[in-house]
Subunit: 643 residues, 2 copies
């Protein structure tokens, strides 16, 4: 097959590709990542690039994303265009995906559980004993003699049984290889790393010379669609030594879960997208280990929590059937793997376990959240709400648990919003509006770059409180507010003018941004109503509401209630638990009992498939107002706005 | 490092090797196998080769194996000589190891259990139910729907549990990969291969499309030091479809167990010697599968029995500590492996299990023999004698079992005997002498090539009965027998003159051959005496004697008793059970309960370490006569010879 050279400008990246390759693939091969929000399906139009030398024409399908001027000056969609001659391609800044942006420590805080949420609070201590996934045991073996000539392995087993109860011990053939030499060269002083994978059976993962018990570490990992967070934990003390976070490198293959699934299920897509998440995790692990002077060989376990698609991709499983009705994952309870099997930068035999999910759209991150929030330990009726692209909701107590996933859309995560961005440096996260005065706070106090989820909620609440928008989320036609302006085909509110922003362009909120957010919050509220109704309860029944997810502590509860994202309960009933996915993963790392409980929880939770529930649609439509069509559901807002 | 070219003649094999390499290694690299009975230790002198171009001098250590003429014409020991220039090496026929000699079917018969020893006879039916190591189950899964949307794996588990009791099911990550596609492409009709590895837990080894239940096969394997025998078994019916045998290709690295250990524990020795046995087994498997039209993917289990060193080498474990006091194996109970881990030509996930051993010198072949003989199922006191280079002996019944290994030397296997050979085509296996007339039978009725173990026993018994040798195994100085002659430094008896043999050289038995055999039989008899004495018993206590090993049915019991290899019991108490190692391996393949019983047996057997038992030496010296110093132990011989 013919091969062609493609040069990407302004960076100058060069690559030689086969005739059928698309420009998007060629760019990725040359190390340049072009924004492809839709996963290369040709439906988002974000990957516009300009052909500056050679020949390539836009497909008829692409034309709707290109203006006449763009077409005349050689623009095409990178994802839709095949390489048929040698090319020089100019990648405009807006099409280029930014370099991996490591989150700063200050913005990372929100990804971890608040300090006051300690393991002790959420663990049911009598039953959830501290018992890490792996444990090291130092063995000083008596040298064999003619009167004590049992096999080497039996000698190791005998010594382990002197120290711990171990009715059934086992090990792999590969651990046995070299054992004879290891024992003799170490003068019979070795350390065994044990993995108690059920009550009866303990596996010897590895044996190494000398006493290395002083160092045994684990990694807890939250695999988010957007962000990956990794914690280094001392398995001896349970203490957290450090945390690192970064964007999920899979983003180069698609912004959201759906586009990642599409990419993964295309020809040859699984392997690169699996490698991308493994690379992301490895980069974070490498950084953490270097910072804390920990050798990879002393990290013997990793637990991961993520949504069902992320878990599948992390473990190298096809997520294809998750996306389409009837929404079937390959497995909710995944077998443990080993670091070497997954190419993770840990001890090759390190145990890799994923927290179990409930269904295609209620994953291990939610099971982890239930574990971390402790809602299943109390008789109080509680709700756990994890707000992201999907809003997963769990309601229940120590006797029953129901759960569902409401497709909230990307509004809370900054996508689907004209000036939206992720919750990183420069994002507006807090907003106060008083008549025509706007006060805002950005993450890191940096110059404005855009607006993140919590800033968006604040803005809409403030616009509504100041009656700049109506309960439908529309700017009244007669609006004379100095910051309201009309753009090409939409009304918009100027939050920050060009001179306040990094890019020099003003940061605005459009009517369609507001409409998107109302749909998102409507979906979440409707889902809660459907589940509560099904168990004969109402919002008042909720004694506690745990809010998890990237919002962390930045979400303003009163404003969230004000727009109808959260039910109208006394704000002190609402508790932020930050990244409960990570907390749950860490609990699983530190206690086999916690992992077992996660399994039990995942089995216990009754899953509601909302997409086939006609009641959900009615509730959803009713919730497409600020705060809700039925103002009796929001008595405090009714009082406030009525006055 | 400098490299030199070595050419081996008359074959013309060429190889380039590094400076330090020895000629023996260079030859192996070029695919030419030079006899190195001692494993390259420079102590057998079998690897004499002639340097015809280039320079290489014999080491001072080698000189004792070379005549002055040989030294003058450039002979060296291949194992002791380093390559220091380019060389041309002539490998004389006697130094060259013969091409892999596939045993003919007629000579193979003796390697399998006689027809009358069926599983039914030796299995304790109530407890040892038929339950193969792997079982296939056809699953016709209901298609998922929104009202039945459990995960793919749960759907598989649910269907399995409809058919069999399976409290705990598990599978590996690699089996899950591709599952979603497999189920859908096969239209939800799949076959699961299950491995019930304990009472509670069943592992799904693999899933494949359609209904393949009609074909599920296993391999039972006897890994002998000399010979490897492989059986193809239909796991559905338990019937044996075929059997193949060949020499163990490891022989090119050393004739006996000790020399193999020495080779394996030298620099880089483990990998080639492990590969050699795997290659041997694979070649036999390939032949069997082709003959019987069985696809490798339908062979899902292999069980192997062998002595402890063979088992270690088969599984890729170092045998180094087995050889030296205090004689420690890495493991007696080996974890199961998979075919892909061991590069065996079976289904990649096929279970590979070794029968457990008791100690370094009582291996899984003996545990298999106990299983196959059924001695542990009866209250009768029985002995199991497996005669090879080591004579392993087990004595006991359903309440107790003692075992030991007596180093018998290679006499029974044809080595250590001037004209000895393995029990293959052309070997004298039966001998009758009447005054100066010798009648013999060869294996396959072929022209004489040498004499094998059973022929040797026959000959010595006949020589003794005809009083051609005395009870010390010596030819009387005054011997006037026409077939007794003196060679350079020994007396010898001519069994076949040059015109009767294939080589044209006469086949003889020398005094030192006889002396070696007397030592061998003395060791076995002494070991039995020591063990019987330790439990307060004598030869008369033995109600049954099972004889296992390559001798098969060719051993003449009365003659074996006559020379004192077997105790003086009524011949009908002696039963040949042929290759009980193979039978035991097959039993383990067909019944998980048999494998479990093998584990129990291996734990129950009390091992006697004879090398440190002073009583053994006394008994050994007393047994160095025909049949024994104490003729009261052999009353029937005493009567016969006294008359």
């Amino acid at each position: 097959m013919a091969k062609y050279k493609v040069v990407f400008q302004p960076v100058g990246g060069k690559v030689e590709v086969e005739q059928e390759s698309r420009i998007l693939e060629a760019a990725a091969e040359s190390g340049i990542y072009i924004n492809s929000l839709c996963g290369g399906e040709g439906v988002c139009g974000k990957c516009r690039v300009q052909i500056t030398r050679g020949e390539a024409k836009p497909t008829s399908h692409s034309i709707r994303f290109l203006s006449r001027e763009e077409i005349n000056s050689g623009f095409v969609l990178a994802c839709q265009t095949e390489v048929k001659t040698n090319l020089e391609v100019w990648v405009p800044p807006e099409a280029r995906l930014e370099e991996e942006q490591i989150l700063t420590t200050e913005s990372m805080v929100c990804y971890d559980a608040p300090q006051d949420l300690q393991v002790s609070e959420t663990f049911d201590i009598p039953s959830l004993l501290y018992l890490p996934v792996t444990k090291k045991l130092y063995l000083s073996l008596p040298e064999p003699s003619l009167s004590d000539n049992i096999a080497d392995l039996d000698r190791v087993y005998r010594e382990i049984r002197k120290k711990i109860e171990a009715p059934y011990l086992e090990t792999s053939l590969s651990t046995l290889r070299g054992l004879a030499e290891l024992l003799r060269e170490s003068k019979w002083q070795v350390t065994a790393t044990l993995h108690p994978y059920d009550e009866h059976c303990i596996e010897i993962l590895s044996l190494e010379p000398g006493d290395t018990c002083a160092e045994n570490y684990g990694i807890a990992c939250d695999i988010g669609t957007t962000t990956i967070v990794v914690q280094l934990v001392d398995l001896r003390s349970g203490s957290i030594l450090g945390v690192e976070a970064s964007h999920n490198q899979q983003a180069k293959y698609g912004e959201d879960v759906i586009s990642r699934m599409i990419f993964a299920c295309g020809r040859g897509g699984l392997s690169p997208i699996h490698n991308a998440v493994i690379d992301s995790v490895n980069t974070l692990i490498d950084t953490l280990l270097e910072k804390h002077g920990v050798a990879a060989s002393n990290v013997t376990a990793l637990t991961a929590a993520g949504n069902t698609t992320m878990t599948h991709l992390f473990m190298g499983l096809e997520p294809c059937t998750i996306r389409l009705e009837p929404y079937i994952p390959t497995a909710n309870f995944l077998p443990t793997g080993s670091a070497e099997e997954l190419n993770l930068h840990l001890h090759p035999k390190a145990v890799v376990a994923c927290l179990p999910g409930v269904s295609s759209y209620v994953g291990g991150d939610i099971t982890a959240g239930v574990l971390a929030s402790g809602i299943s330990n109390s008789s109080q009726i509680s709700a756990l709400i994890d707000i992201g692209t999907n809003g997963e909701i769990v309601i229940g107590n120590n006797e029953w648990l129901v759960c569902c996933s409401a497709s909230a859309g990307p509004a809370f995560e900054g996508s689907g919003t004209k000036c939206g961005m992720r919750a990183t440096r420069g994002a507006i996260q807090k907003v106060h509006i008083e008549s025509d005065q706007v006060q805002y706070e950005t993450i890191g106090g940096a110059k404005v770059r855009g607006i993140c989820g919590s800033g968006l909620i604040d803005t809409i609440a403030e616009l509504f409180r100041n009656r700049i928008i109506d309960p439908n989320g529309k700017f009244p036609a007669e609006s004379a507010h100095p910051r309201v302006q009309k753009n090409e085909d939409d009304m918009e509110f100027v939050l920050a003018s060009g001179d306040e922003t990094e890019t020099g362009k003003s940061v605005v909120i459009t009517e369609s941004d507001i409409s998107n957010l109302i749909k998102s919050k409507g979906a979440i509220l409707a889902a809660m109503r459907v589940m509560l109704n099904s168990v004969g309860m109402s919002f008042e029944s909720l004694e506690r509401i745990f809010v998890a997810g990237g919002f962390g502590n930045y979400l303003d509860v009163e404003k969230a209630i004000f727009i109808g994202l959260l039910p109208d309960v006394s704000p002190e009933r609402v508790k932020f638990i930050g990244n409960s996915s990570l907390t749950g993963a860490r609990m699983g790392l530190l206690s086999r009992h916690a992992l077992e409980r996660a399994n039990t929880l995942a089995r216990q939770m009754t899953y509601f498939e909302l997409s086939v529930d006609p009641k959900f649609y009615d509730e959803f439509v009713a919730a497409l107002f600020l705060p809700h069509t039925d103002m009796d559901l929001f008595p405090s807002i009714k009082r406030m706005m009525g006055s």
